[in-house]
Symmetry: C2
Subunit: 328 residues, 2 copies
């Protein structure tokens, strides 16, 4: 089985690649080849039984993605995107990468023809939903993005469904919760602070909290996120009918609950490193973001539960990223 | 006030143009200029106090729409589209006209800049919804198109909302019911038979009914449709927040109820001209179409009720299109 990952150098892409290389298979199928694409050079893993190609290119340049699908990968994970903050700051860039790029990918697949019909896993986002909404957003709630990023993801979902219905590919869109705790340095995602306030204090550093503690949000760990991708890459998609995108399980928690969990897991000296500096721009953006979901459909089709306590999310971060240790 | 109509030569475009010329104003504003665009030459009305420009061009060719918005029309009615049957039959053409064309329009408006922020009325469609759905589709139901046409309209709605939110224009998308009775000759819309079975028999001609009589659908007359456009062009859009598209009022009726109404209004000799010839392709398409709506939101913001009986829809057709007469 040949797997192509677009956006392989991003945080989720790297974690997912590691997992695929570790497993050597996707579901029942041994992986023979892995193609890793990103706009920054993906790290070529050493010492692997699997043939790994790395491709450094901007997939949203016309023609760039065609060579990647010409070799007919069996499964394509499309993780490439400009994040929410950047798509909001740079209107043209967001549409070029998140909309045009996605469409070029789908068109390149269609152009291969000759019975080629790969599985395409598209990482969508809970940003496809915007206020006003119910306390829990269910599987039949209208798409009402209130960011350009969310708009571009919602359009990607619609295209994916139509290309699937027309038989050009077999697509599934998974709306990821905010991935928390995101390892590494802060990126331009406006949601970054949800991770920063956990990660930086555990590293002995200060973190800025730009919103109030009663802000509620929807989280899943990187480990759960990788699990969602694996299931999306292997499950039988017929059960979805033509509704090809669905919200992934997650944990609904307030910022206050996050901080309380951090105090329990790591102690009050760690939480004391959180500095409260309200940022009206972020406060305003966050106000329109989803807070909680009913993900019955995802659970029915085998997407297993994400974490059930924020303590677990923090413990997973300490285990997977910090070798079990933190700066107390 | 300068008004631009894209797709002015279509059935709805022609009826709407007639009405604007008749009224001489849109809401409180006198119309000083009307620009009529279509890919086939729009008829230049004779004998009008209003300056009328006609432009024959394919608005979905890159660059074609820029000259139309360069003169900064105050209100733009975007009625141009490839219909459902054709968009399904010709994948590329549907995406080119219905998606790329719409995006070129929005981009051309944005490119004018310098405070230009026109009202944009986009005719969307109930085809943005697809089965399975509730008996009545409400204003918060998820967009689940099951045609390429519906997908393209749903994407148009999302773009319109984002461009409005970003302040590039002031947009409203109105999801028209199936316009019935559609005058003139059959077009390539798969929904054409809903009109054909009324129009052709009233003209003394046979019409083919390709589905069973228990098929339920959502209708509004051309007269109501023009009323929706007028209101969309004049109402205060602030009440919509960033949810800029909404389903218009209509009448839910089965094909059997349509035929019974025709028998009441025009007699059994007329209904005897309906020939039942099931077409599995159309039966299959129609099975995924919406049947009934709860349009509370549209009514709240002033879109007045469409017809309440199919008898009225037929009478309006006889009045507006047939000079009060039909072939008994």
């Amino acid at each position: 089985m040949h797997i192509l990952i677009l956006g392989a150098a991003g945080m989720v892409g790297r974690k997912f690649t590691e997992r695929l290389l570790h497993d050597g298979r996707l579901g029942a199928n041994a992986i023979s080849k892995l193609t890793l694409q990103d706009v920054v050079a993906p790290t070529k893993p050493a010492d692997t039984r699997i043939a790994v190609d790395t491709v450094t290119c901007d997939f949203a340049v016309p023609g760039a993605v065609a060579p990647l699908v010409a070799s007919r990968p069996d499964v394509i994970f499309h993780l490439a995107a400009i994040v929410s903050g950047e798509a909001e700051a740079d209107f043209d860039k967001g549409y070029r990468i998140n909309l045009d790029g996605t469409r070029y990918l789908l068109e390149a697949i269609r152009a291969v023809g000759d019975g080629y019909k790969p599985r395409v896993v598209f990482t969508s986002s809970i940003a496809v939903f915007g206020a006003p909404f119910h306390d829990k957003i269910d599987d039949e709630f209208v798409l009402t993005p209130q960011t350009s990023y969310g708009t571009q993801k919602a359009i990607g979902e619609l295209l994916l469904a139509d290309y699937s219905r027309r038989g050009f590919l077999d697509g599934i869109g998974i709306r990821l919760p905010t991935v928390c705790v995101r390892p590494g340095r802060p990126n331009k995602a406006a949601s970054g602070f949800f991770s920063n306030i956990i990660r930086e204090p555990l590293n002995g550093e200060e973190a800025v909290l730009p919103v109030s503690e009663d802000v509620r949000h929807w989280h899943a760990s990187p480990r759960s996120t990788v699990g969602f991708l694996l299931h999306a890459g292997t499950m039988d998609l017929k059960v979805l009918g033509w509704r090809r995108s669905l919200s992934m399980p997650g944990l609904s928690a307030t910022v206050g609950e996050q901080i309380a969990a951090l105090a329990r897991v790591a102690g009050p000296k760690v939480t004391a490193r959180i500095r409260r500096t309200p940022d009206p721009v972020i406060v305003n953006m966050v106000a329109s973001w989803p807070r909680d979901f009913s993900t019955a459909r995802a659970r029915e089709v085998g997407f297993t539960t994400a974490e059930t306590t924020f303590d677990d999310i923090i413990r997973i971060h300490i285990e997977d990223e910090l070798g079990g240790k933190f700066v107390a």
